[in-house]
Structure formats: C-alpha cells, structure tokens
Amino acid sequence: MNVTINQEGNKFNVILEGRLDTTNADQFQKDIEPLMNGDKPEISLDCTAMEYTSSQGLRMFLMLQKSVNSRGGSMVMVGMNPQVKEVFDITGFSNIIKII
C-alpha cells in the first residue's frame, strides 16, 4: 500500500494505492500518522487505485474516522472500486464513513 499525503493547512489530500492487508496494516498505521494530529482536519482519501482491503484495513479507517470526529474534522473517501465498496457496505462502514 502506497500512501501519498499532500497537505495545505488543515486540508489533506491523500492518495492510496495498492492493497491494504494484514502484511502492511502496521506500516499503513505509521504512514497515516500525519493525519492523526491537528484541529478540524479536512481529509480526502483518493481510493481510485486502492485494490483491496481486509478487516485490518477497515480497523485503520475506523480508527482514523474516530480521530477525525474527535477533532471536529471531516473525512471523505473518493473513487472506491465496487468490490472494496461492498466490504464497506456489508460491515456498515458506509454509514459511518462518507464515501462519494
């Protein structure tokens, strides 16, 4: 999983590429640390090139959403492929994370 973070003030445009699974979830958690600090972050996750996520990945997105909520920010996931979207739908994550 490749994570590219472009920051302008409190706005974060994040590009996610590849597969998020048990082998790289720990690394992903480190990669998204810059998103875990600061007031009222506005985070956009570009998921166009995210091929796959396991429940390990879902945990990371839930953790990030909780952190964003607690800081009065917002987060949106954009361009998710249908199969990844189905994983978010089945687990109810589509209701707690904004997906467009």
Partner: protein, 132 residues
C-alpha cells in the same frame, strides 16, 4: 488439495497463497476477491491465536463438491469456535463501533456457509461458496 504448514508462525502470507493458488480456486476476479478476503481473515485468526507463538500446524484444503468450493482449516490449537462470536452491530455510530470483530462477520456475509466442529483435539473450520 491438502497441505500442512508447520509451524505457522509468521507464515500468514504463505498459507494464504497456498490456498489461493489451488487449482480448485475459480478464476473469476470478483469471486477471487471475496475468497481471498475470507481466507485472509481465517488464516490471520489461526496464526495469531491458535497456538502460543505460532508453534503448531495448520492443515488447509480445497475441494469442489456438488457445485461448491469447500475450503477447510484444521489446527490443534486452543479450542475456539469463531461462529459463536456475536456479530458486530453495524448500525452503531463510529464512536460506538468497536475496532475489531469484523473478520469472521465478513466471512459469514460473503460465503454461503461456515461450519465448525471440534474433533480429535482439533478445530475444523469449513467455508463453503457455491459456484454458479
């Protein structure tokens, strides 16, 4: 196909690939996505929790029977029936949701059937997916 991996410590990726490269696996990419996801969830549970420090074996198998794919997992670790776990409440808000408990729930939703039995000192878990 039936393969034994012993010991299983740090072997998650190898066990997953062993199953996914079985000739019984369908070639349909959409189905492959779901099967891989479910295999990963089960394998990860076994590697993490079945044995102390992963010092034990797992036998994984695949078989096509009556138009369905059977994926089997056998280990002699701590007795654990994942099907007894309560499903997460997927209507809760982000704040209320627990981090975890999603893996086996995904398997239940994506497979046609999951079966568990404890026999001869081993956990036997079977995931069944109908092939159309």
């Amino acid at each position: 196909m039936k393969v034994i991996i012993d010991p299983i410590a740090y072997k998650s990726a190898e066990i997953i690939e062993t199953l996914m490269s079985s000739e019984d696996m369908p070639q349909d990419p959409a189905l492959e996505f779901k099967l891989r996801l479910c295999v990963e969830e089960v394998v990860e549970n076994i590697v993490r929790y079945a044995y102390k420090d992963g010092q034990g074996f797992v036998e994984v198998g695949t078989e096509i029977r009556d138009g369905a794919l059977y994926m089997t997992f056998r280990d002699a670790g701590v007795k654990f029936n994942p099907l007894e776990k309560d499903d997460p409440d997927i209507t809760l808000s982000a704040e209320e949701r627990q981090i975890g408990g999603l893996g086996i729930f995904l398997c239940k939703q994506m497979m046609d059937d999951l079966q568990y039995e404890y026999k001869d000192g081993c956990n036997h878990l079977t995931m069944i997916k109908k092939l159309s």
